[in-house]
Every structure is written in structure tokens, then in C-alpha cells.
Symmetry: C2
Subunit: 348 residues, 2 copies
DNA sequence: TATTAGCACTCTCATCATGAGAGTGCTAAT
DNA sequence: ATTAGCACTCTCATGATGAGAGTGCTAATA
């Protein structure tokens, strides 16, 4: 990532173009720039600079006598070297910093984690008009608190898995019908006593190793525990909360039906989103993917602003905003960052 | 609902127009009808009949010299008096009756009810290209099997509610921190012994009445049980499974961006859907709402084919297809009917 | 009497030409 | 180094034109 050099004036022009285009997706011309932002230059000068910026690949023209439009590279430079990230959420409407307000509100619903993520996702999309995405803590990384088993019907057992983070999952599993509730309790007691405090993944490994090591003097209880535990933790669904397709449809960027189809297709398939977000599941801070920087083919016309949230320094899940490349990056970054931190805080 | 009279010829023409328009949304002209369906009439005759059908309100013309298009009333007559409901799911592709195939597949995943509904919804929309909607059993109507409480963290309890139908819900509730696990067990035992086999709603009423009657000699246990039970069963989310917006966007009916916005808006808000489906939550068989017949304003340009599914003769929830008024009613009805019956069967 | 052939008429839609408007690039002047 | 001036290019809205499809009506036909 070479840091391109740009003189101050060029930066100003690029800034003006990006700002203007972000607030309204019309190609921006030299005259407009001089009128709206009163630098000291004439339109002709601006034209020269714009031509330079175009040569450098920061701007492009939809056609020969239209104004200029930022390229992905232009946005990238804007984000890296020009933009200042907002320190407050007071945009449009001046009702105070609603991101902060939301963050406060969040503290109250942290008891029900699953519900919380739903809430966060909705709020994200509502406040930004972009698509909000939240992945709950990846099951494997959460910390096992305890597990319980309850007999259910003839040959089934409901396993209730509780984690430190407040994620409660239940799953119906089929078991040998000769297992009594007492047996189940013993298994649960064993698992709880032995493994509380470790991550789900860790435990899985430990159990497997244990099983292997003690193959000879095979303990019936442990054997059962392993088997039943593995069933209980295998959650097939990759749950991702996504919200805001409707809001995004109202952006002028997607006034074209084919664009909507494209974006719907991309976010319909949650695997695509997971694939995208997995990229950064172990990293820190806010990440920005602009257009074709996107590791996922289906989103090369979209931008993604994402951040992991953490629990005691371990990254747990991801929250993100997906929108057009013509995104209000400053706003988006502020939002994602603030809310990610806020979630992290509620976990600690 | 007066049964309109129509001579055989008129029916044939109406049938031809609807069929043709369903398969391709172009206004259908007299010449086309005579060519495609070889009745014995000439285009001129067809024109006369069409004019009559227009007078009766079954057809309409987009403009003076276009072909005819069915009105909602036209579809209604078609559905009531002309159409034959398919007895098989072998449409387009001739891979056998895939609805039946799906039904078989369903038997295997009935263990995890929540997952099942997701699956059903997705399959519905995929097979039909319309929007699939499924409401899980309304919590109040399901039959209480048992409840358990597990202490969680300092001042919280996880309530696990199991119903006859296989719906397992968990909820974190805050409780008096002096309640011990023993207390919780006693409460659970009391509730399970006393109320297993009744509907969630019934129990609520019984408990309230009990509380009232025994106000004087107030039993601490019962008081607690009531309080905690009420918390446990209050599920705020109206969960509705909806799927297939993307598929529907590919229909030519929604090639217009504003139409997509409209439909998205309607199904985004799950309350709207709930409101619609509540209309028939106590009735039987397949219901068809065509366009403006729709009780919900937001859907007056859409059609809904819906059916309740039942458990032991009591209606539990609804499955539905939402699509354009130009819907393949025969196919949709067959699908909804078959799958609803299939779900009912897996519950018994 | 019911049906049909014939024909004038209407409306849509794609195509094309036109011209205003916006913005550029270049050159010459400052 | 900057800017004014100007010719040039491209888009977009507008309106004209004509082919195509389909109708409604009337007169002829079985």
C-alpha cells in the first residue's frame, strides 16, 4: 500500500468531488466546485487539476463532457488520507448524537443477547440507510458456561447450552432411549465441572483427545458425554442478522432495477456475507472495503465498513454496514466503530 | 357472493385469456386466442365475447387498442368456476412431483421444529418463485409440555419452555436473587404436574383466576410460579418466516422499481403479514385473496394463497404464498394445500 | 339469427432528428 | 502559473414519424 503523494490543492479538489458526490450522485463539474467551495481557483484551474487526478486514477468521467466521479481508488485515497472520521453522530437532523443515544439504550437490553443483535442490526440500517449486518459470536469462540439436558418425549433430549456471553442455544437431539434423566444429569455435571470457562472449540478438542487417550479404559460416562456434547454444539445454521434492503432501495444509486437485483442476490445468500466477514474475524478495528477491493466478487459494486467486537480482547463477531461505493464513509465508520465498541463493552 | 352465470363459450375465452396472461403478462388479443386455442370461432366472434366479458368486469383493456387483461374479478371467477386445481406438482420441468418429494423430505427434519419452518419457507418460495410465508404455531395455542428453570449468572434464570408440538423456546428472565435452584425446581414441578397438556393460553387464565380466588390464603409458591410463568411465556417477537423477495423480483410483473419498493415495504413489516394471516387463523382449507380483495391495504396489488395447518384438528399456524395477481393459482393452491396438510401430518 | 370478413381507426412503441445545456480541453492572454 | 475565452462533445428531453397490433363497427354470409 504505497502512500500516494498529492499536493494540498489536489487533495482539496478530490475532497470536494467526493463530498459532493456522496451527498448527491451527480457527476461534479469544475464550475460547481469553484462555486460551492470557495477556494481561490478558477474553473479552468480546477479542470487542470481534475485532469491530473483522472490521470492518476482517482477520478473518472462517465463520458467526455460530464463532470467527474470518484473511482474506487479515489474513495480509497479519500478515506485514507483526506477524510476525518466524525467524532459525533450529529448529522442531518441535529437531534443530538443518536448513535450515542442508541448505545445507551443498548445497555438495557443486553440481557437477551439474541434479541440484542436483532435490535442492533435494525438500528444500524435505520440510522444509516445502508444495510446493517451483525454476526453473533461464532459459537466455537464463545465461552462455555454450562450445559443442561432435559428429557423430552420418548427418545429425545433438549440440550441447553449457556455461554458466558449470554448466548443461550437449545437443540433437540436424539439419544439412546435407555438413558435416564439421572444419567443425563451426571453427564451434564461432568461437563460443567470439568469444562466451564473454556471455549466451545477448546472443549471439543480436549474431549476428542481424551477419548483417544483413554481408548483402552473407556469410561462409559465420558464416551456418552463426548457423543452428546458433539451433537449439542453442532449448530448448522450460520446465523447472520441482515436488515435494511428496503432502505437501500430508496437510494438513488439503486434506482435501476438490475442494481437492486444484484444487491439482493449478494445479501440474500448469507454465505456470501459470512465469507466476506470471515476475512476479518480475527483482526481489530474498523475495516473498509471499497468496491472492487471487496474480496467477494458479488459485492464489487458495493462498499463495506466493518468492525469486530470483542469480549475480553478476543474478537467475537462482526458488525458491518453495506452500501454503495458512494457511501458516507465518515458517518459509516463512526457508526460501526461506536457500536462495535459499545457491544464489546456490554460483554465485559 | 353471487355465482355469476356465464355460457360455456365465454368461460372458454376467459379461461384462455387468464391462462395466457398467467404464463406471459402481455395483453391477449382476439387473434391470438383463436390461433393458440383452436375453438371454432373467428377473431371477430372472440372480440364480441371479450367485449361482453369486459362489460361484466372480468376483463379490461390497458388502452383502446391493446388486448385484454383479466381484472381481479376475472381472476376470482377463474379461480371459483373455471380452474381445476392440479392434482400433481409436475409442472415445467418434468422431474416428477417435487412438492411430494419435498413433503417426504420434510418428514426427516420434523425433529427440530424451528428449523423445519425455515426450511418450509425457503422451499415454498424456491418452488413457486413467489414469496413464501410461514407462521409457526402461535405460542398461545400450543400445548404446554413442560417448563424448566436453570439459574444463570447471579440474578438471572433461563426458562426453557417445551410444547407438545416440539417448539422449544428459551428466555432469560430476571428473578429475585434469593430464589435458589431448589425453589425454581419446586416451581417447575408444580407447573409441570398441574398444567401439562393444556394450552399456554389456558394456563395463563387458570393461573390468573387461581391467583384471584386464593388471594386471601396466598401461597407463596403459587404466587412466584405465576409471576415467573408469565415472564417466561411473554415472547414479544411475532416471528414470521418470509422468503423469496429476490425470486419475485425476477418476475416481469415487478420489472418496475416502484413496484418492487411497494412489495418490499409490504413484506418488510411483518406486522402487515401477521395482520393478513390472522384473518384466517381459525378457518380451514385454502383461502385465496386476489388483489383488492386483500384485507390489507398494502397488498391490494398482490394475491395471497394461504392455508392453516393443524394439529389434532386445532389450527396452529398459517402457510402462504404471496405473488402478483397474475399468479398461477392452480399451482399455488396445490402447493399450499399439500404442504399445509403435510405439516399437519407431521404434527400428529 | 348468429357468425364472420373487411376495413377504418386508435394507441403504443421504437426510432430518429433536433436543440438546449453542461462541461470539457486547448490556446492565448495575463 | 493561472485564467479567460471559445470551439467542441456528449447527454437528455422533446417532438415527429411510421410500423404494428388490436379493436369496433358494418355489411355480407351461412
Amino acid at each position: 500500500m504505497v502512500m500516494e503523494f498529492l499536493d494540498e490543492r489536489s487533495k482539496q479538489i478530490l475532497y470536494a468531488v467526493v463530498q459532493s458526490y456522496i451527498s448527491k450522485p451527480d457527476p461534479v463539474g469544475s464550475r460547481f466546485v469553484t462555486k460551492k467551495y470557495s477556494f481561490g481557483f478558477s474553473p479552468a484551474t480546477v479542470r487542470n487539476i481534475m485532469a491530473d487526478l483522472e490521470d492518476l486514477g482517482f477520478l473518472s468521467q462517465p463520458h467526455t463532457s460530464a463532470g467527474r466521479v470518484p473511482t474506487d481508488k479515489g474513495y480509497r485515497f479519500y478515506v485514507d488520507s483526506i477524510m476525518v472520521v466524525r467524532e459525533t453522530g450529529e448529522f442531518d437532523s441535529g437531534e443530538g448524537d443518536f448513535v450515542q443515544q442508541f448505545a445507551k439504550k443498548l445497555e438495557n437490553i443486553r440481557s437477551d443477547v439474541n434479541n440484542m443483535f436483532l435490535e442492533v442490526t435494525n438500528s444500524l440500517s435505520m440510522m444509516s440507510n445502508y444495510i446493517g449486518v451483525v454476526t453473533p459470536p461464532r459459537a466455537e469462540k464463545t465461552i462455555f458456561d454450562r450445559i443442561d439436558f432435559i428429557r423430552y418425549k420418548e427418545d429425545k433430549v433438549v440440550a441447553i447450552l449457556m455461554t458466558e456471553e449470554g448466548v443461550i442455544k437449545n437443540k433437540i437431539i436424539g439419544v439412546d432411549s435407555r438413558l435416564t434423566q439421572d444419567d443425563l444429569n451426571r453427564i451434564a455435571d461432568y461437563l460443567n465441572a470439568e469444562y466451564s470457562g473454556r471455549t466451545i472449540d477448546e472443549i471439543k478438542n480436549l474431549l476428542v483427545r481424551k477419548a483417544y487417550r483413554e481408548k483402552a479404559l473407556w469410561d462409559k460416562l465420558i464416551a456418552r458425554a463426548i457423543k452428546i456434547y458433539e451433537q449439542a454444539i453442532s449448530f448448522t445454521e450460520d446465523d447472520v442478522y441482515v436488515s435494511g434492503l428496503y432502505d437501500v432501495m430508496n437510494l438513488p444509486d439503486f434506482s435501476d432495477i438490475s442494481k437492486i437485483r444484484e444487491i439482493s442476490k449478494a445479501i440474500k445468500d448469507k454465505h456470501i456475507i459470512l465469507k466476506l466477514l470471515d476475512e476479518l474475524s480475527d483482526s481489530e478495528g474498523v475495516h473498509v472495503f471499497i468496491g472492487n477491493e471487496n474480496p467477494v466478487e458479488e459485492m464489487k459494486n458495493l462498499s463495506v465498513v466493518a468492525s469486530t467486537y470483542k469480549e475480553r480482547e478476543r474478537p467475537m463477531g462482526v458488525i458491518a454496514l453495506i452500501g454503495p461505493t458512494r457511501m458516507d464513509y465518515s458517518k459509516a465508520i463512526y457508526m460501526v466503530d461506536t457500536i462495535a465498541k459499545c457491544i464489546s463493552r456490554t460483554f465485559d
